[in-house]
Amino acid sequence: MSATDTVVEGVVLCRVGGDRLAVLPSDVVGVELPDAKCPYAGSLFDGTTPSPADARLLRHELSGLVVDALEVHAEPLSLMRVPPALRWVVGGALMGFVQVGGSLWPVVSLPALSRHLSARSGAVRS
């Protein structure tokens, strides 16, 4: 762990097709069945359709995000910094990366990501 990394007290690990992302538990106010009005995280990885059987909606105060499967990792983790070349992606919602099970997981701010997706879909509609 680098001296400059911050520590997060656990994350929600999300599977999105063959890809991964993670969110902070404090961003999630509930886990529900998918809502067609909420965006699917696969759209961030070129996927368009959630896996129907296990898909869940991560609800937060503003909206929510649909993922294919999730699990909670309750142990503290070092949040590795976002490289400058990636600070602009998903509207700046990328907070860093954690290493779990030998793999890197991108950690996103759920409210910031929802704002980004809403703005993007609004831009597509207009």
């Binding site: 999105v16 590795m80 910094r81 490289p83 070349a85 990636l86 793999s103 890197l104």
Partner: protein, 146 residues
């Protein structure tokens, strides 16, 4: 000898990405790495093919062929790790040809996109190369590569 030509005579690491040859000043080329399985980043453009952890740091992997709009090639296994004041990135490399002194010029090869951060025409023993202006290139990536 003008300053720009003199810069070419410093050592440059020359590598290929697809059919094109690129060079970076040797002092910015930290190492050549074999790429592990990459983690894709949500919302990243196609030229940012993923990230990996290396010595406690997350490194983005940039594919110059895709950044140039050429056909996708998933066959890359190695990358040149380049460090600059703007951070570090791994540039996919089909083949690493070693450090050479270059001949030729350091004029900007274009006005926009990646071409605005390539210099040349320069020559290495292996052929014509495009020299990456690392500081400008890193700034270009930090602005989204557009």
């Amino acid at each position: 000898m003008t300053p720009r030509v003199a810069e070419l005579h410093r050592g440059h690491l020359v590598f290929s990405c697809g059919a094109s040859l690129y060079a970076v000043p040797a002092e910015t080329a930290a190492e050549v790495v074999t790429l592990p399985a990459l983690t894709r980043v949500p919302g990243a453009p196609v030229h940012l093919v993923g990230v990996f952890a290396h010595r406690g740091e997350v490194l983005p992997v940039v594919d110059l062929a895709r950044l140039s709009g050429r056909p996708l090639d998933d066959g890359f296994k190695r990358a040149v790790l380049v460090r600059s004041t703007g951070g570090a990135v791994a540039l996919t490399a089909t083949k690493v040809l070693g450090v050479s002194q270059l001949e030729g010029q350091q004029e900007r090869l274009g006005d926009s996109g990646l071409q605005a951060h390539l210099r040349g025409p320069a020559r290495a023993p292996a052929g014509e190369v495009a020299v990456i202006d690392t500081d400008g290139f890193f700034d270009f990536l930090a602005r989204g590569g557009a």
